[in-house]
Every structure is written in C-alpha cells, then in structure tokens.
Assembly symmetry: C2
Homo-oligomer: 284 residues x 2
C-alpha cells in the first residue's frame, strides 16, 4: 500500500480504510483531544518543529502528556513522509486521551496518537485571481481557542453557515471585536501596517500567522497584535486570512461589502511572495 | 453475549469490545454529534420520550437529521433493553454526522447512530447521607449549551479541576451568574422557593430538571427560572444538583463554604421523594 493510504496509530501502520478506534475512545465520546495539520511541500515537512511545539502546548492545555517525546514523534512522522510519494500534501495528526469506560474523570489509560497523509494541490506562486468571501458570525466558541482541540463543532457550524450563505469562510465577531475565522487567522492592512488580534482565549496561535510576524520586518512592514472592530475590518485597505493549508488568501468581500480595491493588495502580495520564498528555501 | 456487553450501531448488534468507528468519523475528528443518557429502572426505560425529543432538538441544533424516525428508534432501544438483564442502569446513545474525508463542510454521508447499556447501582429511597462538594469555575464554554453535543472537552476539564480540588462537581459561574454544573443542573432553595437558571445558551434542558418543574406545584413549591449570583447560591437555604444518572444530590459545600444546615434540606427531601415516587410509578 502507498503511504497516503496508510495511517500510523500508536506505533503501528495500518491501511487508512481499516483505521478504527473504539467507540469508547475519549476523542469520540468527549472531544478529549488535540490535533495538528502539517504541510508537505516537495515531499518535505514544513515548519514541523513549530507544529510539534504547538501540539505540546495544546496537550498541556488539556493536561494530556504526549505518549512519545517530541523528538521520537518527529522521527516517526519524518520516516512516514519520506516513504510517501506525495510532493504536495499534509499530515493530519490527532492525539486523544485514549480508551476507557465513559466517565468525565480522567482515566488511567494509554493515549491514542495517530497521523496520516493527504495529498493537496501545490500552492501557486501567485495569489489566486479570486479573493475569498467572508460571512461574519457571532463568536460563540469557548474561551480557550489557543488550544487546538478537536472540539470543533462550533467551527464546523460557523463554516457551514458561511458556505450556505455563499461565502467561503466564517469570521468570528465578539462584542464588535474581530477575533479569527473558523479555520484561519485574519489580518488587516490599515495605512500600511498589519494588524491581527492577539492569540489567547479567542485566537489560535497559527503557524502561518507566526511566520508572517517573522517575515514582516524584513519587508519593512509593521505587524501589530491588536484587536480591531468589524467596521475597521470592512474599511481596511487589505484583508487576508492565513492557515497551514491555504497559506495566504486575500479577502474580496465581507458579507455584502467589497474589501479594498477588489483585488489582492500590494502588501498582501509582498507577504505572499515572502512566504513562498521561505517555503521554497526550507523545502528545497 | 449479554446485552450489556453488546452495542447497537446503525441497525447491527455487535460486541461492545469490538465496537469501533472509522478514525474519519466526524464524531472523532470534529465532535460533530450529539448524545443522550437514558435511565433504566426495574428493567424499564424512564422518560424515554423526553430524551428522544431532546435528541431531536439537539440534532436539529447542529443541522443533523435523525437517520431513523423517533418511533423506530424508540422501538429499537426498547427491544434492546427488554432483552437486557439489567434492572438498574442506563442507555448511552450517540449520533454523529458519519464518516467522510476530513473537511469542515457538511459531507453527504450516512450518520453514525449507536447505543449501548451500562449497569448502575440502584438509587436509594432516601437522599445520600453525604452531600456533594462543588468547586466554582469560570464558565468558558460555548454559547449553545442547550445542545447536548459531544464537544464535552470544556466540561471534562472543569469536572477534573473540581476532582483535583477535592470537590465532586464543578459549578460554572459567568459574570457572577451561576449557570449549571459540568454534568448536572443546579437548583437553589431560597425562602421556600426553588430557583434555577433558565435553559438556553449556557444551560442544558435537563430531563430531571424539567421533571422537578412538573412535580413542584403538587408539593406547593414555587419553581422559578431566574438567574442568581454566586453569593446568593452560597447563602441559599438549600442547594442541589440534578442529572439523569444522579437524579438529585444535595450540596453540602461550595468551595470552602458550607451550604445551609450541612444536611439534606426539607424541600430537597420532598422533591427527592416525589421524584422517586414518579420513577416507581412509571417503571413498576
């Protein structure tokens, strides 16, 4: 079997189509787990260390020790990917507290750790011709969004509300403060400077988000963690969203309002190019 | 195999120990599902209709149509339980959106519906000698707690925070308003009247909770849905919590403060007895 059809689970490799967990796995009954999505470019893992650090933070946030240390896990994932024949794709990794008779109290059991690969189309060198459309929805999620937990039902409902309205992604707004999107972080360009909400109760520490903070100074762009309101977002010169799978997508529309010049803006383009350069240099 | 060792899943009965779901089940990857816990007394299901109505409401709340109609489901559960040899126990039922390659967008797939039985010790005719201890924690959950979803990670974390502090249950407080507990509703007796927070964004429509509203008038007790603060709760004459598995448990302590007379109060006792009578009459 090819690696894209197989799955690593607790040290074993099994066909993905046969990969099952007990219905008493706490990931299934309690959403008691965390996850990561790691990009593969040119057959190589991108930003793996940053993803594993975030995994450790998320797991610590739910008092779930990693069943293997980060170095061993890195080696297992790397071996798995190096045997894969996929130039462009991703690793989906999930860690749950494991299998035990249903009870809220933490059981004494072995965690479930699994990962598998999926192919993805390669990212283009230039930003897409079409921007994404956002639908704003009330941020009704819990207050520990910095934990990348599998309790994703609120995100799923928001995303589908956006899709049903003809938009591509839902953007969360709480007390007129724009937090993040259902599966991405949001950035606004206002008067040449880059703004995004600080990470914390309502914002995930996105890996692509952090990379842009690393890259912005070299482009002489000020990047500022600061909350902003919905009207500021709509009036921004440029808006874009970031995630591991989409990198950077420029925003063309917010509900029924066009954003900026209805094309990918100059600062978004610079950041897009810098990020592509970074990806190329690290996955050559 | 006896029925307590078996599980009904999508119309099939399999041994519980072999009951597995795909790792791509949306219950496992997205917490995209809902559940119910239904009590069995004297071999009979208690308040089954109310639980199935709530299941339908929860499922509608996440836009998930039941894969079988409520009447068929009722018949399947009843058949399953009538074959069981458990006088006292519960049915755990879970419904998820089903198996599909991981993507937030709702897939076109068949939901996963399963249920199984667990034995429980019979409930005593008198309230327990010992009251429960509550630990108050900030209510950081999402705002659709009226949906009995499997996205229970916030409840699991709160419950374990309480256990680690030597308490039995966590009580959620938001902006000094007491909402509910991690796996139960909370009632306060103040000047002879019964108070509990209205159901809605932060409170599940508990089945036992609703039963008490039915029973209170016949005991000449006023039952009022009205939010109250933490200091009012601590100063209450009596406090108790309700859930399907515990029915009514009187509260002895709130953090380090004793509640009431440090024994099960007279109004709690009346409600406890009325609820036991109701259970007996409906499961004779």
């Amino acid at each position: 079997m090819s690696t894209t059809d197989s799955l690593w689970i607790n040290g074993e490799i099994v066909p993905l189509s046969e990969a099952r967990v007990s219905i008493e796995d706490r990931g299934f009954q309690f959403a008691d787990g965390v996850y990561e999505v790691i990009r593969i470019y040119n057959g190589k893992l991108f930003a793996l260390d940053a993803h594993l650090r975030r995994l450790e933070n998320s797991a610590a946030g739910i008092q779930l020790p990693l069943p293997v240390n980060a170095a061993s896990l890195k080696s297992e994932i790397s071996k798995f990917v190096s045997r894969a024949a996929i130039p462009d794709g991703m690793i989906y990794l999930q860690l749950t507290r494991g299998v035990a008779p249903r009870n809220h109290a933490f059981p004494d059991c072995k965690p479930t750790l699994l990962f598998y690969a999926r192919t993805l189309p390669p990212l283009p060198d230039q930003p897409a011709a079409e921007g994404v459309k956002l639908l704003s929805v009330p941020d009704e999620r819990w207050k520990r969004c910095w934990i990348k937990s599998i309790a994703l039902l609120p995100n799923v409902l928001a995303k589908n509300q956006a899709l049903a309205a003809g938009a591509d992604e839902a953007v969360f707004v709480e007390n007129d403060v724009v937090t993040e999107c259902s599966a991405s972080n949001l950035f606004a360009v206002i008067d040449g400077r880059l703004f995004t909400h600080p990470v914390g109760p309502k914002v995930l520490p996105g890996i692509t988000r952090a990379l842009l903070f690393e890259l912005a100074p070299s482009l002489a762009i000020s990047a500022i963690e600061q909350p902003f309101g919905e009207s500021e977002a709509i009036a921004a010169d440029e808006l874009f969203i970031t995630s591991t799978t989409r990198e950077i997508s420029w925003v063309a529309q917010w509900n029924d309002r066009p954003i900026g010049q209805k094309q990918c803006g100059p600062i978004t383009k610079k950041l897009y190019a810098a990020l592509r350069d970074r990806v190329r240099s690290q996955t050559a």
